[in-house]
């Protein structure tokens, strides 16, 4: 059973068919990539899968369970974690506070017992804090723990965002342009980290990214979107030599990607 699947997803905004019968699936512990030119519908597809948009047709399943009618937070409870193109973090919190609020759904004490300060909830708060540091350690961001977000660079913010999503404890990690703001070396390092995370944490990863060589390196399977339609799908090697894809990306006459 695929970790995440989407069948026949279509969505229309006014006169624009943003997605047209897109089929997608990713197996447990695989890394799937979605590439395509700007405006191809990649982020729209993410929003349909994570519940921010309701597709006109089609069905999204998480671990085989249909979730099309669920809200984003309910889908998060089923194991979906995502990042945003415009950095999904709480701006007025510090890095540590962001990682603590990101663990929201794992905190078991009730709202009431938290409000009257029950000892059990105090204890759990300590665990939440400890765990935030574990994630920061894992991504080597511990030194930023008490920094307010205002002073961090865009690349740093993307890293912190990834840490916050990891803190939500996702089974399926969906990254929207994680390399934005990173230099070539940092991108390389991020790729290594991604492969390591997949191995260490046993998670499934879906990535949107423009950086084709990076995608060819880390992904097990790649989907190519163009004008809301699936142009091609396959293993990286197939995609690389697919002339349709090369034309969509590089212009007419191109034979291979990268």
């Amino acid at each position: 059973m695929p970790a995440l699947s989407a069948e026949n997803i279509s969505i229309r905004f006014g006169g624009l068919q943003a997605l047209d019968s897109v089929d997608f699936h990713v197996n447990e512990n695989e890394i799937a990539g979605i590439i395509g030119p700007n405006g191809a519908g990649k982020t729209t597809f993410f929003n349909c899968v994570t519940g921010f948009y309701k597709p006109d047709t089609g069905e999204v399943r998480i671990h085989g369970k249909p979730v099309t009618d669920l809200r984003p937070d309910q889908r998060a409870h089923l194991g979906i974690g995502r990042t945003f193109q415009q950095v999904g973090l709480v701006r007025s919190f510090t890095v540590l506070e962001n990682l603590m609020v990101a663990q929201h759904q794992k905190i078991e004490y009730g709202i009431g017992s938290g409000m009257i300060g029950m000892p059990a909830s105090r204890q759990e708060e300590k665990v939440v804090r400890e765990r935030a540091f574990e994630v920061l350690d894992y991504l080597e961001l511990t030194h930023l723990a008490h920094a307010p977000l205002g002073g961090l660079s865009y690349g740093m913010l993307k890293q912190v965002e990834a840490a916050a999503v990891l803190a939500t404890d996702p089974d399926i990690l969906m990254l929207d342009e994680p390399l934005a703001g990173l230099g070539p070396e940092e991108s390389e390092e991020f790729g290594n980290r991604l492969l390591q995370m997949r191995r260490d944490l046993g998670i499934t990863i879906v990535i949107i990214e423009h950086h084709v060589p990076f995608m060819l390196r880390v992904c097990d399977y790649i989907y190519v979107l163009n004008f809301g339609k699936l142009l091609a799908e396959g293993k990286p090697e197939t995609i690389r030599t697919n002339s349709d894809v090369a034309e969509a990306y590089m212009g007419e006459g191109a034979a291979t990607l990268a």
Binding site: A76, F93, V101, G117, G151
Partner: protein
């Protein structure tokens, strides 16, 4: 899945808990003041407590009720803060919540002959329920439209609900006697202060737990909050209910200051004053909004007293709206974080943290109210 950090990844950083104690720069370490630091802080807090508790002895007996009113305003400010400071929703009809609490308490005391404590609980409940109803509507609109809905709610409550003679006794007003254990002005002031203290502690527990974090997270970005599994609608409603309940309690206390409740007390002007004192106090900061509430509650009396004492002092209580508006403008231009921003270091020191914030580039706006 849990992140069981495998060996080798963090061998340098170290999951070694022993490191927490050794290195003073370890970010895991929670900073604590030294013994002298504790003594100093407790001393200042003690002086402050002594000042508050002896306040009735410093002012003429005719003005003790104004101190009680200051405590009630402080509580309203905490209530406003939950809504405006934590969730970023504007409420221009907060006088209505306070009014609902006041009339509920009056009704419970006079018509139902309930003991005062039960009447207060009833006021908390009605305040919460009325906020839940408004919240249900407010979730569908935002920004300016929400402000308009809250104005409409406030006017509707004052003009219609508070004039239903059967439950409010119309223009004659609903009596709201004080509890037997605090019938004197001094005793009643202490009751108000104790109630503010309880609300303060509950608010602190709220903000330092899961629910408070969730509420503040969705203020900044609802989509991000939802992506982290936070039920945006649910927590917004919770904020409305908490805010309304606190306002309800404030209403019950307000009712028994003058021991009579009349609908003209809860006009649009009062709602506006509540917004003013919260913003000038500093959105998101408990000490800030409480200071703002107290300041605006005593401002007319202060002006009047100064006018009587000094012949050169031109401002009477009539100048209060103008001075309040001026304070708001100065706040918005120079200190968007309000009184809390001006006293940032002091407040931080008194809450047992370092006097100076950690040095990490630009200091975050303590109000958190700007830029979104």
């Amino acid at each position: 899945m849990a992140i069981d950090t495998p060996a080798g990844i963090d061998s340098e950083e170290g999951m070694d808990l022993g490191a927490q104690h050794g290195d003073p720069d370890d970010p895991r370490r929670i900073w604590r003041p030294s013994t002298a630091g504790y003594v100093g802080r407790f001393f200042v807090l003690g002086l402050f407590a002594a000042f508050v508790l002896t306040a009735p002895f410093w002012v003429p007996d005719t003005q003790t009720n104004i101190l009680s009113r200051a405590a009630v305003f402080a509580m309203v400010a905490l209530s406003m803060n939950v809504l405006m400071g934590y969730t970023g929703q504007v409420s221009l009809g907060h006088a209505a919540f306070v009014g609902v609490g006041a009339f509920s308490a009056g009704f419970a005391l006079t018509e139902a002959q309930m003991p005062w404590m039960f009447a207060a609980v009833f006021a908390i409940a009605t305040g919460g329920v009325s906020a839940l109803i408004l919240g249900g509507i407010a979730l569908r609109v935002r920004g300016l439209y929400l402000a308009l809905v809250t104005i409409a709610y406030g006017l509707f409550a004052q003009e219609v609900i508070f004039n239903i003679r059967a439950v409010t006794r119309g223009g004659a007003g609903m009596p709201a006697p004080r509890p037997a254990f605090a019938s004197g002005d001094y005793a009643y002031f202490y009751l108000c202060v104790a109630a503010v203290l309880v609300v303060w502690v509950l608010d602190w527990l709220l903000t330092s737990s899961k629910a408070g974090r969730a509420i503040q997270a969705l203020r900044d970005d609802e989509r991000v909050a939802a992506s982290w599994g936070i039920n945006v609608t649910g927590f917004k409603l919770l904020a409305f209910v908490v805010s309304g309940s606190i306002a309800g309690l404030a209403g019950a206390l307000f009712a028994s200051i003058e021991t009579i409740v009349v609908s003209i007390s809860f006009g649009f002007g009062l709602s506006l004053l509540f917004v003013l004192m919260t913003v000038v106090g500093g959105l998101g900061s408990r000490p800030g909004v409480v200071t703002g509430g107290v300041l605006f509650a005593v401002l007319p009396t202060l002006l009047e007293t100064a006018h009587n004492a000094w012949s050169w002092w031109p401002f009477t209580a009539l100048w209060e709206p103008l001075i309040g508006a001026l304070l708001l403008i100065l706040t918005l231009i120079f200190f968007p974080g309000g009184i809390a921003q001006q006293n940032e270091h002091l407040y931080r020191w008194l809450s047992f943290k370092k006097f100076h914030a950690e040095e990490h580039g630009p200091v975050a706006n303590p109000g958190g109210g700007g830029g979104h």
